[in-house]
Symmetry: C2
Subunit: 137 residues, 2 copies
């Protein structure tokens, strides 16, 4: 039961980064919890609280002409107290970020309710070695 | 019931920053969950997973001679799916960080199981205006 939940949690986290990489706002919106509270801490930004502010930020980010490619790597997933926590690295051109993604179950599906990402100047070697970093398109 | 839990969550978060500011490792250790998994993403660091790695990092940070003063401000606390999430700002000399602190209840007390902090170059004005920033001692 828990194993299946963890696999689906990793899958939801993959879907989040797929929506990000594909700049697919509809998919991104569907991945976020339909219930408040939701929160988001983009790198360097002030806290965004509430669905409207969080989804508007994703709409802006995904439609920006200078949107960077992004590659998620080394996810660690845990179901703790009914929430799903995934910690992973985000590789973007010339930088690595570390991210925490928090999910809750809604109608049997993991949905995001908090995301924080920030620069990781000391990533583990395996994160850097794993594959070629994404290139600017 | 929930209201009391949120108040105690804010109190646990205050205690975390008090332990940090006082460089009190025993108090810091007592605030962390006694059960794995626990995680920590210090600014720029790779992920620390497990009690041993997380507590060792705090021991090192709190005993460092160049330890910076830290001031927590503008906490937002929510109990979601049995976990306690506090998002707040950390003011250190010449910078503001944004942090996510995740707690779970253990024997009726909120205990940390994940902390992430990263630089916030665009903090809300009220965070900058609230009080004097901490000065180096």
């Amino acid at each position: 039961m828990i194993e299946g939940l963890v696999q689906r949690l990793l899958f939801a986290n993959e879907a989040f980064y797929a929506a990000f990489a594909m700049r697919d706002y509809a998919a991104m919106k569907a991945l976020w919890s339909a219930k408040d509270p939701v929160f988001c801490l983009h790198p360097g930004w002030p806290l965004l609280a509430g669905q409207e502010a969080v989804l508007r930020s994703w709409k802006d980010i995904l439609s920006a002409p200078q949107a960077s490619p992004i590659q998620m790597t080394a996810p660690v997933a845990q179901v703790i107290e009914g929430s799903g926590l995934v910690i992973c690295y985000e590789r973007i051109p010339n930088a690595v970020l570390a991210a925490s993604n928090l999910f809750r179950l809604e109608e049997g599906e993991w949905r995001l309710f908090h995301h924080q990402a920030g620069p990781c100047q000391m990533p583990p070697e395996e994160v850097l070695d794993e594959e070629e970093p994404p290139s600017l398109q």
